[in-house]
Subunit: 317 residues, 6 copies
């Protein structure tokens, strides 16, 4: 049984080389990419046992996704489906002023039909943490229900529920997201949310410390983490607010940084750290993730320790 | 105005390197691939002016498809759509006994909603040949109607209608295909069909010569070409049957060989060749295509001439 | 008929990966590259119809160049030649203090023998803008004459003539350039010139605003654009000077930035923009170009609009 | 618990592209490769649960090996070591008359120090089959003892012991191999051996049927499989000899074919097949493996079924 | 001082991957390629010391050529030139019926201006063998004279002169070649010539044995080798004719096979072998060359020995 | 005979692409890398003749190393060995806070058994400079003795001995290094040392000027160069201290920068420059090296001159 069980969609990410244009290349790089599996991998890298559950088409594409996740060290418990597509997305990465762009091709996927009863709910109830994100209920009405049912089951089993708000404006409007996600809030223990989403989608005002405090008090979360990208993060726990700065980093890929942060935070909390210490490890993990291409935080505990202790190394030989 | 106008879907083809498995690679090769655009390119290579018309999503993926077709020298007249996906397929290429496998991901595409009235029908009526294949009506009920309407419009404009039967068992059953396609036969002047499809889908019996004759007489085509892969082809015209052998070839990719054959046949018929001569050029074009990776017959007239004359060269320096 | 017709040489550009040395690699990247075709593509991306005319060897290399230009959406009207080479150049890209270096291998090319009478002059006279650069007359005495004849024909047809000074010190000396190019000035309506060239080659003095004014008054141009790289550009029109700053950008490749600027400027002027607005779009197009590898401005109108309006996006998903 | 537990060394395989020379390339392809893990993967592909146990250096290289095996679907139970190298080998693949060549760099590896007591022996004793090969005891005197101890433990736990003779002449002499391996024979239930090894190393004479029979009788194995490469295999069981031909195949990589054969044979025996049926599936799996680059049999059950039933497909679309 | 000195042009060879078309790729493979340097390398691989002399532009391209030759183990003695191009050629490799095609771009090269007096003639006169081919005098009238002068100098120094006829129909007509090359014959000791060239260019008739005999007698050579590609070779020496069959081979690249043959023949003759033995080693070297991509015979003495003794190995591990 | 003879180990460097993780890639880049051969190449680039002597396994890996060094223009005089491995190392390159990491796999190499008497000592005694580094004696006790013997022989032959301290903490402790290397100091004329090593290993205190002075006086060197990375270098000679700043550079790879500096310094000293001038050229060479991937300073004299004169160029066309 895993310490952490995550549930969500993992897509096949197709992308031209950094800076190249989708319309002009003859090869796409292929990677598995999904917020929930990213979090599982990051947590696993920091020492927790982690698994990802989902519904996946029984095709070479589905097998490719599952194989890549297994390679990175997590367990998978997958409902293999003969219906529904493998979700894909096309990623074009560029700097200013062009910016990075994503084209989703994730309709009619196998996962969008996943119902809670298709999964082994014991796996969730025997875990210490259940994790999913606001992307999952955005994918279909079936998944809205499934997410709610899984959170409920986790609670019943005494499993801590952790949820990353993760608003995606290409999936739904702020109004739809707010209405759906706030209905899930009563079943959530730990909320992770970007300061921008708290403001734009939930309409909460104030500086990040105020955002964390207002979210925590209003919705009765145990813990709230407000993330601010390169400006660090805020943790709110037992009515106390903790600030964590971001580490300096030579960023190669910022995609997946939030997932690295969250996965490390969960793992270190499970390990017994208090919130400020867990935030420190989360920030260090996020900083190393930024030096790694792809979505996944292929870090080692030793590296994260080194960054927490001394800010990392230059050349070791 | 083009000599030849073709209509159909061109997909983005995603494939691992030859022999590699989809589930095990980190890069996919990307190419535009579609029977109707392949035919247009092959015809254009042999000297005809050719264009492809279709409905394409206004995304980098759609632009990539159109750009690649233009690169190969044909004109494109495209309805840009804000709805519907770009069709894709995954191609895994292998030898015996594994074989080559295709995974279609072409549902809910932009082209599946294309109606005849969205196109400039004058372009079809001013052409000398209109071409499409049995794949097009297999894609949606809308496209069944559109195909029928375009064939009708072509006839009214005095444009010769050429049709490749192209049965695909991953798109529909033999019964569905027979029922739909035989209804289109009265609007078709020139039919190209694989001997296997004539037998399995249409239920016609006999050796290839008999197949050609029976098809021609029964459905009142002007010309029938029965293709037999590496065993050559049969042409039926004015009740006379002509046999054409295949040229010896070092095959690198057999995909698109039929389209190369058909495109060359159309171009040479337009050029004024009689059926036996056109078949000879078609066979030579198909043979060179087999030496070229990808779906597209990037041949030159000079090369085709050389093969017809002398069977090709070895090393020229 | 195209809004814009451009004339010039497009070479095959051979280059090792960024930072690698020509003498040490086993693969060269291959691209088509030429100032005039770059301008046509940039203009086409912003909504103008554009074509490129030239003389090209009828070899796979020549066909490759033409195919790549067609892929990017412009029309080509090419005199195919059985004599003369395809021009190539070798590009080694590096940062400070090594710098980027170019080795031209463009002697005895097909284009260097091109005469005005080999082209369909109606195409120029029916266009709204004819464009070439100071590179073209630098390539051969034949091309000096051809350039003059084409500018003359354009004027006679009422076509606006736009000219980018584009001095190349590996092709000729400042003296040769000045003597040749100032003879062409009376036939030119719109001049684009780098501030450095105005000073070094034409010997004009002053700050960029003064350069623009002096050039405009002295040679009786309708419009003068003085470019200053990362420091922006100056437009002079109807005796009024307009300044345009450069947008902040994460530069991946600066080659072709000037051509992107000029192509966008022409397209927006044709669209009806006044000079300051056209300069703004030109600067935005140039900024996006800098994020794209290769010489060509593969931008979209929507992207350019977004940069003009808001300075571009970061991550859109 | 897994149906099958395998024990042995898995190396990092470094190779230039097919046909290229080690001394002349700038990139090596990297793959995990080991007979025992290959067998586990092949068995897993045919439906058995399989795991690989070994001792691996706790370095990125060791993690890379383990990650790749997990990606292919097997479980790993690894003793992480802070001493000893990760074994590597360099593979140069070529046709006649050059031939394929291997340079081993596998001395002083972590695995060469592995002792039985470092592993969870319950895992072996709870499995249905324990598998290793003649390579393992060739690697060090420690491993000779470990292999003997593991075979003994398996027997004690009622686990069937299967052993592939796998003589490697770059590791030891025929005399050393014979002396060591025949001492292990009393602990082995099922022996797989190449006809050539039976003759050259064990000194047994006769045609392959005779080899199987003599080995079975002389050493009291339950089952003997004599492999003959492209000429098929012989199975001896309950004193009955069964012949199995090889399937026709377009060979891309013959390395790992024997492991694919053995893994499938084990899986189908566990599934309940009699020896002739298991040999048939083993031959089909080996045939598909030959179409796949790399050492690993990335086949699916459906593909193997299809080959057994009909000899495979050509193009499916 | 080297045993063998060779003189000629080595070009930069630019090619798409095997089977791909020049007009359709975005990367060219780059290699140094020249008959005379190929011969030096092959001879060096078989144990002779060898050097290549030439005139090369002092550019990164010229340095790349020289660096690659040095990498392969020969010495270079190069006149660095500030004038003249580096010769290049484009190679498109394909099977039947398309065939392999070469586009030369080797006019106005530095080497075409090389005069004998620019080189250190002592180097030639102190060598045991001087070697060049019929390509060299085909490149310019200057090189015709230079070739004659070098052959004369070699003779004066007591150096054996070996010459490969190497007719290239893209460089000159049979008549030009015959007239020029037969004038050089009196200065040549050992002639290597393809049977086809002996017939087509020199107009000699007969089977290969007769060709060798007639050439030897008519022009007073010491030794004549008539090559016949996959059908082997004929050696004529002291009025005796020796036949050598070709070894069976899985051909990957046939370009450079003749040079491998000639280089090995020279090296073995220098080593003291009689003509039949040298032919045997030459055939074995050529056979291994055919398994290697590129023009160069990167063989080892041990491999050649193994082929001569046993026809080569299959898999050695 | 070469101006400079260097002695040491050159390894095969295996690395994933920049920023990628060793455990996650399928291809390693391969290069030859060694401090002493790097110095020889840098010196050769600046006009000195240079050679590298070592002991290398007679395998394709050993030949690959030697071939690459020859390609870069230096001579090699190698003892080919049938025993001992080719040293390799794995390099993972990343930015902050992850840093670059090296995994050595260089035990039991051929070079670690090299004795002075295996080499042609005349080659050292006839050179003007003999060079090795503190890495060499760190590799084995045999090499400690060999290094001492070679330094002694050089002195006896009147050859200047230059030594780069090059402490590597993955090879030995500071105490071991200090004890061994200070014993070699009496045989050394010119010492190059990083300021950090002088402090950490030798325990000398002070600012870099003081370090240079104290080292020079205490150990009686002719010349001491103290390097400080991006902060420049200090030269001490004849009791005078000279400071040299580093040039501004867009760093692509900092590995090998010190070797580039040292090689250029030696070459310019041999050329006759005084210490301050030699330091200036050394700094310029190091700056260009930083723009080049890989360990090797593939610079040209012209480029170095340009940087010394004007700080380098931007774009030259």
């Amino acid at each position: 049984m895993s310490d952490i069980v995550t549930f969500g969609e993992t897509m096949l990410r197709l992308s031209p080389p950094q800076n190249e244009r989708l319309e002009d290349v003859d090869e796409f790089e292929v990677r598995a990419a999904g917020a929930e599996s990213n979090v599982a991998i990051a947590a696993s890298r920091l020492g927790a046992t982690a698994s990802w559950i989902s519904k996946v088409p029984e095709t070479p594409l589905g097998k490719r996704v599952v194989g890549e996740l297994r390679q990175h060290g997590i367990d998978t418990d997958v409902v293999w489906s003969h219906r529904g597509r493998q979700g894909t997305y096309y990623l074009e990465r560029a700097g200013k002023p062009r910016g990075t762009n994503v084209i989703y091709d994730r309709e009619n996927t196998a996962v969008s039909t996943a119902k809670a009863r298709e999964f082994d709910i014991d796996r969730i109830q025997n875990a210490r943490v259940f994790f999913t994100t606001g992307i999952t209920p955005a994918l279909s009405s079936t998944l809205r229900e499934t997410t709610a049912n899984m959170l409920k089951a986790a609670r019943q089993g005494g499993t801590t529920t952790t949820f990353d708000f993760n608003y995606r404006n290409k999936l739904w409007s702020p109004d739809e997201a707010r209405e759906t996600l706030t209905q899930l809030f009563p079943g959530i223990d730990v909320l992770v949310i970007a300061a921008r989403d708290a403001r734009t989608v939930l309409g909460i005002e104030g500086d990040p410390r105020q955002l964390a405090h207002r979210l925590g008090s209003q919705y009765d979360f145990t813990t709230v983490v407000v993330t601010r990208g390169a400006e660090g993060a805020i943790g709110w726990h037992d009515s106390v607010v903790h600030e964590q700065a971001a580490y300096e980093t030579d960023t190669v890929s910022s995609i997946g940084t939030g997932d690295a942060f969250t996965g490390a935070f969960i793992a270190r909390r499970l390990h017994g750290d208090d919130v400020p210490t867990a935030l420190e490890y989360a920030a260090a993990t996020a900083a190393i993730k930024r030096t790694i291409p792809g979505d996944v935080a292929l870090v080692s505990k030793e590296e994260v320790d080194a960054v927490v202790k001394s800010g990392g190394t230059d050349l070791s030989r």
